[in-house]
């Protein structure tokens, strides 16, 4: 999607997103500005659209991202936060085995090179953006069952291949 196409579509759906964010602000009681939330959502949207992932339904994607940004603002307003101080963290064996960020990035790049573009796209939407299967189906226009199968195959492949690094 070109920047021009993005701007045209985002301009068309901006009012809907403002209404969505405005409604959330008034019902949740958080302090904030609908315009700021929509602006932040649009920026995130552009980042992910710009990564050449095929987005079938930009409006559905924009609505989902805006909802998530609204919830992020809600968390920032101190609602439903959870202290980590009471957690039991023995700290013996390394929990994630691979702890260095650079290592993780290298390993991820190597593992993801084994995946198809579609598998990578679905895992990005699922793991990086936290989209549900229904939301991925809305955004990509693919059947939910097909998305679920694709992610499952990719996850099992990653689990199998990561043995080399442990």
């Amino acid at each position: 999607m070109t920047r021009q196409e993005f701007e045209k579509t985002s301009g068309r759906i901006r009012m809907k997103l403002l209404a969505l964010a405005g409604s959330f602000i008034s019902k949740s009681g958080i302090t904030g500005d609908a315009d700021d939330i929509v602006q932040e959502s649009m920026l995130k949207l552009w980042q992910h659209v710009n990564e050449d992932y095929p987005i079938q339904n930009l409006e559905a994607f924009a609505v989902t991202i805006t909802k998530k940004v609204c919830l992020s603002h809600l968390r920032d307003n101190g609602y439903e936060t959870e202290s980590l101080s009471g957690l039991d963290a023995p700290g013996t064996d390394s929990a994630t085995i691979i702890t260095d960020e650079a290592d993780i990035k290298t390993i991820k790049d190597e593992l993801y090179s084994l995946l198809t573009p579609t598998q990578k796209h679905y895992l990005h939407l699922r793991n990086d953006l936290g989209l549900s299967l229904d939301e991925i189906a809305d955004v990509t226009g693919s059947p939910k069952s097909s998305i679920k199968t694709t992610i499952s195959i990719a996850n099992r492949l990653l689990k199998e291949q990561i043995k080399r690094y442990i």
């Binding site: 068309r12 009012m15 809907k16 403002l18 209404a19 405005g22 409604s23 959330f24 602000i25 008034s26 019902k27 949740s28 609908a34 315009d35 995130k44 609505v63 989902t64 991202i65 909802k67 998530k68 940004v69 919830l71 992020s72 968390r75 957690l87 963290a89 023995p90 013996t92 064996d93 390394s94 929990a95 994630t96 085995i97 691979i98 960020e101 993780i104 990035k105 991820k108 593992l111 895992l123 990005h124 699922r126 793991n127 990086d128 953006l129 936290g130 549900s132 299967l133 939301e135 998305i147 679920k148 499952s152 996850n155 099992r156 990653l158 689990k159 199998e160 990561i162 690094y165 442990i166």
Partner: protein, 183 residues
């Protein structure tokens, strides 16, 4: 409630993760568990795979949108669907109700089905006014709607003395409303 200290429950949840059947919250629970507990030898692959999979996660986006719907009530898209059905069911009476309730009388001519569908209902106008009022939370003094054929001019008078006018139109086929800001 899943007890992750119970290995059977933990492994079952891990299997569900692999099958893309977990919720965002369940995945966060799993990630947090493995990040704060010693990992048993038969779970190392999964724990590492989970850490790698989530390493680029945008933490500001990892909320479950069902929480949004719970707080904000019905999603806007569903409201529009209901409105569209209401508009379709009341298509005949709209021609009467609109002039009565909004002091605007459409031309007394034979209207095509497409024209009838494009008329904006009173409830849709109210919905549009409500949407615009939420955008300008706490700053509005009054709102005025003036139907103009297939569109409605909605003017918001703000407490600082300024006015903002929007052209509202509806697409019955797409169950959508659109607004164009004039100033």
């Amino acid at each position: 409630m899943i007890n992750l200290d119970n290995k059977q429950e933990r492994l079952a949840l891990a299997e569900r993760f692999l099958d893309a059947e977990t919720t965002v919250q369940e995945e966060q629970m799993l990630a947090r568990y493995y990040a704060t507990h010693p990992v048993e030898s038969d779970e190392k692959e999964f724990a590492a795979m989970l850490a790698v999979s989530r390493s680029n996660a945008d933490s500001s986006l990892l909320a479950d949108t069902s929480e949004f719907d719970r707080i904000a009530g019905k999603p806007v898209s569903k409201q529009h669907t209901i409105l569209a059905w209401t508009a379709a069911a009341a298509a005949v009476s709209l021609m009467i109700i609109l002039p009565l309730s909004l002091r605007h009388k459409p031309a007394q001519s034979v209207m095509s089905e497409q024209d009838e569908q494009s008329i904006i209902s009173t409830s849709q106008i109210m919905e549009g006014m409500e949407m615009l009022s939420k955008i300008e939370v706490g700053e509005i003094e009054s709102i005025y709607a003036q139907p103009t054929g297939n569109t409605v001019l909605i003017t918001l008078r703000l407490k600082n003395g300024k006015e903002k006018t929007y052209i509202m139109s509806c697409d019955a086929n797409e169950n959508s409303m659109s607004f164009i800001a004039l100033n």
